[in-house]
């Protein structure tokens, strides 16, 4: 369950609370432009090529150069690792252009997280050089296309192109904004250095460009749009018990850490893409990274007097649990509502539905109960996966909803449901339906701490397109007990 949203009254409360608390996640008031007497005038900014006083100098040429350097860097790393696919020549470029696209056989994590991460670097080569979100999105597609054709000797992969481009945009803008939460361009000395270095971990491309341009040491405002109208972070750590209805899958208990970020207010109209986004990261709980989910507003209406808001969102999902692995790039339409219930209580609810442009889910061959694991690479370091690839690719759709009851801006009870359908194009001929429901109750303790119990239910159905194969249906429950904290 992603973090809850705020009503107008609650938003004001949050802002006041953040101001008073001195929270490390405190944000600056959004509508108070700080214009020092020495601030450059618009004419000067134009001369400098900056859209705002704290914005980077705009340069399409430098963005393309950075993108080229990123491709060279990735290629050099592959070459240093001895991968044959890195030995590119003009002949391999021509062959790739002549041969066209194919589905590749790389493992799930490489394709569903590795490629989006690479795309995030392309995206931020645009953002670091003053390009807008949409321009950087185009640059991501360009970087992805050039890498697929010219960065490796093996053929261009259409699943990589989609994952790198769409996933790169989602991760890129999220990382870019999170890095700007860390940076303080008005700080000096050790504090400034520490923050710039910390931001490097999240968004290395922007940080390196800032160092190269001198912006890393320049005193300025934050770039326009990089200060969220509100910010809520919450976390939970504890133990997770997973049940099973399968003999092949034993019940287990494992530790986990969950982090949620709600960036931006749900009241205001989205001026720029990702002015509001939700992010969730789960570590542990049966996998190293068991969940990474992002949803960012591309367009949205302002909240109506009744609290209703409509939005068009981009989604990125990476899920790995004992029953299935799922990764996908989606575009979603959503409606949400939030209202006050007295002075301290409020509630919110939202519903989404949309298209999964390309999703991946574990293959479940007919008669199998557990999806086969990724094969060991018989030629490690060669850079060419020979398969088999034990997950299916295809487009699909999804829908879901969530609702929460809040007290002083903190979630007391939350419920959610998500369903994901995937039509296999490449893999085992089937339709997959993945569902999960979740309910969380949190008891506030001292300060920002709380105790929570979460009940989850995962369900997987696979409908084979061959009538001779019976459908597969598996499910399991999951319970989490955790210590929670939240910051605004």
């Amino acid at each position: 369950m992603l973090a809850a949203t705020a009503s107008p009254a609650l938003a004001q409360y949050r802002m006041n609370a953040a101001e008073e608390s001195g929270s490390p996640f405190r944000v600056s008031p959004p509508a108070l432009p700080q214009t020092p007497a020495t601030a450059p005038q618009p004419d000067q900014l134009h001369t400098q090529g900056r859209a705002c006083e704290g914005c980077p100098r705009r340069s399409v040429g430098n963005a393309l150069l950075d993108e080229l350097l990123i491709n060279v860097l990735y290629g050099s790393i592959n070459l240093a690792r001895g991968q044959v696919t890195a030995r590119i020549t003009p002949k391999s470029w021509w062959n790739n252009m002549r041969s066209g696209w194919e589905w590749d056989l790389d493992d799930f994590t490489v394709n569903q997280f590795g490629h989006p991460y690479q795309g995030n670097n392309y995206f931020n080569s645009g953002r670091a050089n003053g390009l807008s979100f949409w321009e950087s999105a185009a640059l991501t597609a360009f970087g992805s296309g050039t890498w697929e054709y010219f960065g490796e000797t093996n053929r261009a992969s259409l699943n990589d192109f989609i994952n790198t481009t769409m996933g790169g945009i989602a991760l890129g803008e999220t990382f870019h904004r999170v890095a700007w939460l860390i940076r303080d361009p008005q700080a000096t000395g050790r504090s400034r250095t520490t923050r710039e270095l910390a931001a490097f971990v999240v968004d290395p491309v922007t940080t390196l460009r800032r160092v190269a341009s001198g912006d890393a040491s320049r005193i300025s405002e934050r770039p326009t749009g990089m200060t969220p109208s509100s910010l809520t972070m919450s976390g939970a750590t504890g133990v997770l018990w997973r049940g099973s209805n399968l003999e092949e899958l034993e019940a287990s208990t494992s530790p986990f850490l969950e982090i949620n970020i709600l960036y931006g207010d749900s009241i205001l109209r989205t001026e720029r893409p990702y002015d509001r986004f939700e992010a969730r990261l789960d570590l542990g709980g049966g996998a190293g990274v068991s969940e990474l989910g992002l949803r960012g507003d591309l367009f949205s209406s302002r909240s109506s007097p009744s609290g209703l808001r409509k939005s068009l969102m981009q989604g990125y999902q990476y899920t790995s649990n004992s029953l299935y692995r799922f990764g996908g790039q989606s575009v979603l339409a959503g409606v949400s509502i939030e209202q006050d219930l007295g002075s301290r209580f409020s509630w919110n609810a939202s519903g989404t539905g949309g298209v999964t442009v390309l999703g991946a889910v574990d293959s479940l061959p007919p008669g199998e109960i557990i999806a086969p694991p990724d094969p060991d690479d018989s030629s490690p370091g060669q850079g060419v996966s020979t398969g088999p690839r034990n997950y299916d690719y295809g487009p699909g759709g999804g829908f879901g909803g969530r609702a929460a009851l809040l007290f002083d801006g903190r979630t007391l009870v939350a419920v959610s449901y998500d369903a994901q359908h995937l039509y296999t194009l490449d893999g085992v001929l089937a339709n997959h339906l993945l569902q999960r429901a979740r309910a969380t109750a949190t008891a506030p303790l001292r300060g920002r701490l709380g105790l929570s119990v979460t009940l989850e239910y995962f369900d997987r159905q696979t409908f084979y397109r061959s009538p001779a194969d019976p459908d597969a249906h598996f499910h399991f429950p999951q319970v989490r007990a955790a210590l929670t904290w939240s910051a605004e």
């Binding site: 399409v60 041969s99 194919e102 321009e135 597609a141 989609i162 194009l425 893999g427 001929l429």
Partner: protein, 204 residues
Amino acid sequence: MKGWRRRVLVLAVAASASSLASMAHAQTTTPTDGKHPYVGIGSSFTAFHAECCDREADGEHKGAALVLDGGVTLQRRLDLGARLIWTPAKDDGGDTLNSTALLVVAKYRFWPSRGFFVSGGAGMAWMTNALALIDEPSPPARAKGLSVELAAGWEWRLHRHFGIQAFGSQHVIGLGDLPTQIPGESLDNLIINYWSAGASIVIR
């Protein structure tokens, strides 16, 4: 190639030649500012090639394709819209090999005062008799799949609301695994790659 297809191709070439002639004028023309809709119609010469599993079709098929565009210019550098690519073709045996791709496409101009653009898109595609491409006997059937396109080209603005563009593109249709006539058997991972060069008229 049928006569009408040849005519379409000739028209496409003529449009390209005409647009080259207007290059000097158009390169200094800046696209209209602000959000506004656009539509485009054009044609391309297309070669395509199919492969799957351990099979590869012999040679390439060639034909003319119809390209329709519609969308919104979001800013001076960026268009966002839909593209329909219809590629009718027949193989030597007379089997119809028509394909239709419907894509969401973004077009980006790195330099708004120049005509150069790149575009990329993704969407759905449908193909008739796809198995005939790899000589697998099958009854006539339509298969659907995923399509991705990358393109680059140059647009010459002849008038504030009117332009001509020449482009080269590569698009792919991934049809996935298709069942054959033999029960329980499928041909895995059928992919059809298209290479196109063409021209279109754009009205903004």
